[in-house]
């Protein structure tokens, strides 16, 4: 398991666990509040997040869980609210995560992953019970006889101390989930009042801010903190930002999570894609040693520069620029660059697929040809590869396509998908970028379904695929594979050769693209 726990957290927790009042509170919490009633309340007024109800949020949540190596399912719920945070309800081993609708509306994908990652960090580190106990402490104290006010204030102060460190740990988890420290820094700043787009985030200024608590604070002081802090949306926000920054700049982070270390734009005084591209050019030309070039590549790739990702991928594959040879990491970087449309990465990945060295299931000529076609317009080597291999795509003639579409229109006039003439230039460009459709194929039909997309060209069926390069099934393959539909809850899932390409609501068959796929299949097998 990844070790990102804040060093003082365990020490503070041990102090809490030894406290007699805390032990009594824990027992009361377990019997009264722990899981059932609080989770039942969540289920009552919140919306469960699934692939169908909230596809974007569901996808990001799964990705965050994967990044944090969390193997078990923790349900996610969406609640109506204005706070820019999420919370975990229940207890360790039996909990749910609840995120507010404000987060969904205002946050980018990375910020959402950071918010979710923060909660998953609490879950992974076993914080849930103690955090929720603090929220119910006044109610629980009333159930414990002979606990005086002094003891109550004392145990709350210990818990508050520990919760600060627990938040530091969870912030690190958030950064790991998001793949960068920047989203979490932004989210903490937002809950402190920062407004993205209207203000500049002055992290340097925040790092220099110092505001110290008096060394010895008495009972009244502790009670005062306990009174004020819960009213604020981001208690200790300044410390959290400073701590996260310090950790991302540390040697441990650089060694174990280099992409986080190099994602810290404030560390390297760079912000934005434009600077990243300039930094890449500057670095490759001016840096002298392999190690420095390797570090520069890591840094610029973390900022999202596809060219650097491609270069980094090759460096890991072959083991140069001071980087240890690691084919798996190399392929991952190449995939990321390919997803951003980098032609060289598409070519390199195509070659790896062709030779079976992409860590997949061996040689995949179809995938290789497809990747080469995507790169062909911009990468000479890809064009030469295609020429050498020979064109073997099954392409429908213009007349055949027209006849097919006419038959579909005639029988299903109320279809919801876009057909040839109705596909504007804008939609055409969007579909090509989203589904990686080569420029020499004509898009005949396209539809968006459940947040994904399907397109039928004159050569193949393309469908978006979560987190991977979109699926492509050439007509040559489709002619041989089975087109099948099966029920998935209330929807019908359509697959070609076992690969799911489309989904629609069963009652809407006549409006869906399914009949077009059936007609297409008949045409190909005829």
């Amino acid at each position: 398991m990844q070790d990102y726990r804040y060093p003082n957290e365990e020490k503070a927790l041990n102090i809490v666990l030894k406290n007699g009042v805390f032990k009594a509170l824990l027992s009361a919490f377990q019997s009264v509040s722990a899981s059932l009633t609080s989770i039942a309340r969540v289920m009552d007024h919140c919306l469960v997040v699934t692939e169908y109800t909230q596809p974007r949020l569901h996808r990001l949540y799964r990705k965050a869980m994967k990044m944090l190596d969390i193997p078990y399912e923790v349900p996610l719920y969406l609640d109506e609210g204005y706070v820019l945070t999420a919370k975990t309800v229940g207890t360790d081993g039996d909990c749910v995560v609840v995120i507010s609708s404000e987060c969904l509306e205002s946050c980018t994908d990375e910020q959402l992953m950071a918010v979710l990652g923060h909660e998953l960090g609490h879950i992974a580190m076993g914080h849930v019970r103690n955090i929720n106990l603090f929220g119910e402490i006044d109610m629980l104290l009333s159930q414990i006889p002979k606990v005086g006010m002094v003891a109550a204030v004392g145990v709350k102060a210990l818990l508050l101390d520990w919760m600060r460190y627990a938040d530091f740990t969870a912030d690190r988890a958030a950064a790991i989930a998001a793949g960068s420290v920047m989203p979490m820094l932004q989210m903490i700043a937002c809950s402190m009042g920062y407004e993205a787009g209207k203000m500049k985030l002055d992290v340097r200024g925040m790092l220099q801010d110092t505001c110290m608590l008096p060394e010895k604070i008495g009972l009244l002081g502790k009670a005062y903190i306990q009174q004020i802090q819960p009213t604020l949306e981001a208690p200790n926000g300044l410390w959290r930002i400073q701590e996260l920054y310090r950790w991302s700049a540390s040697w441990q982070c650089r060694k174990e999570w280099p992409q986080l270390h190099y994602s810290n734009a404030y560390l390297f005084e760079l912000e934005g894609e434009k600077d990243a591209a300039a930094a890449y050019e500057r670095g490759m030309k001016t840096l002298e040693t392999d190690n420095e070039r390797g570090l520069a590549l890591l840094h610029v790739a973390a900022l999202g520069n596809a060219k650097a990702m491609n270069e980094l991928g090759m460096a890991y594959l072959l083991g140069y620029n001071g980087l240890t040879q690691s084919p798996q990491v190399g392929v991952a970087y190449l995939k990321r660059a390919a997803q951003l449309g980098n032609a060289q990465a598409l070519f390199h990945l195509g070659m790896l697929c062709y030779t079976g060295m992409d860590g997949g299931k061996g040689q995949d000529r179809n995938m290789a040809m497809r990747l080469m076609r995507m790169a062909a317009g911009r990468e000479e080597r890809a064009k030469r590869f295609l020429d050498e291999q020979g064109e073997d795509r099954l392409r429908l003639s213009e007349g055949t396509v027209q006849a097919l579409l006419d038959a579909y229109r005639a029988e299903f006039p109320h279809h919801s998908c876009l057909l040839l003439d109705a596909i504007s230039k804008k939609i055409d460009n969007y579909a090509r970028a989203f589904l990686y459709i080569p420029p020499d194929e004509t898009i005949c039909a396209a539809e968006v379904f459940f947040g994904k997309m399907i397109a039928v060209t004159d050569c193949a069926v393309y469908s978006s695929c979560e987190g991977e390069i979109p699926l492509c099934i050439p007509f040559g393959e489709m002619a041989k594979e089975q087109l099948a539909g099966k029920m998935f809850y209330e929807d019908r899932e359509v697959s070609i050769g076992g690969r799911v390409v489309y989904r629609y609501v069963e009652e809407e068959t006549a409006r869906s693209m399914m009949p077009l796929l059936v007609l297409l299949k008949k045409q190909l097998t005829a």
Binding site: I217, L220, G221, Q229, A234
Partner: protein, 257 residues
């Protein structure tokens, strides 16, 4: 003639009188001793400043420029810090004791244009000039101390009604300072409603008109008010929220509309 607004220009008599009474109260004096002994101001400052976003020349140059302008209008020599929080339920607060600062909510800030913001900043800085931050802090400490220290509960009750009354009428001072800073009747009346209504609804009151749409409500309020001294006293003890019809009436009387 001074180049800046003086305290006597805008501080409401009731605000001045009640604040003096509060600061003279034995329980409040005890709260001051407790605050010093337990360094409660340091704790207060620490909690707020570490949890809210400090607005600076770097991240909010426009707001800082307005703040400096507001300070100049009041003849303040010490710059005041301003912090922001993400809280839909709050508008703007005066915080601190020896080193006062402002705390404004991002949601409230969005509802204000530049002129309105300048007026609001002047009004709250005027509150600082009038010493409101000291009274607010001490009342908060008193409330905290009641639960933990041996301050007679009766002392709290004695001050309860006065403190609520003062918390309501301090807004008369803010409204006067706002009006003197902006010189605009319409904006002064508008700012009474900004925290609770959106601009479209406020527009319907037609505050730029001689007879605006809120007058009728004020007449209804006046009919109910003063019916029973005991009722008014009870209301006074229960509520520390400023009453809009009273504010409206006060500012109209001050401005001579």
């Amino acid at each position: 003639m001074s180049d800046f607004m003086r305290l006597t220009d805008y501080q409401h008599e009731k605000d001045r009188g009640l604040a003096a009474k509060i600061l003279d109260n034995a329980a409040v004096k005890k709260a001051l001793e407790i605050a010093a002994e337990y360094k409660l101001e340091d704790i207060y400052t620490y909690v707020y400043k570490s949890s809210c976003l400090r607005l600076t020349q770097e991240n909010a140059p426009g707001i800082i420029a307005l703040l400096r302008r507001a300070e100049k209008m009041l003849g303040m020599t010490q710059p005041v810090e301003i912090y922001m929080q993400h809280n839909y339920d709050e508008d703007i607060r005066i915080c601190g004791f020896h080193s006062p600062f402002l705390l404004i909510s991002a949601h409230y800030l969005k509802a204000l244009d530049e002129k309105m913001l300048l007026g609001i900043l002047v009004s709250r800085l005027a509150g600082i000039c009038a010493g409101h931050h000291r009274v607010l802090f001490l009342l908060e400490i008193l409330e905290l101390a009641i639960g933990y220290m041996s301050i007679p509960i009766l002392a709290d009750l004695a001050i309860g009604g006065i403190s609520n009354d003062w918390k309501r009428c301090r807004y008369y001072t803010y409204d006067r300072a706002f009006y003197l800073a902006t010189g605009s009747r319409e904006m002064t009346l508008r700012q009474l409603f900004v925290p609770v209504l959106d601009n479209e609804q406020i527009d319907r009151f037609c505050f730029e008109c001689e007879q605006d749409g809120y007058e009728e409500q004020v007449h209804m309020f006046e009919k109910k008010e003063g019916l029973d001294d005991a009722l008014e006293a009870a209301n006074s003890i229960l509520s520390n929220q400023a009453w809009t019809p009273q504010r409206y009436r006060e500012i109209r009387a001050f401005a001579g509309w």
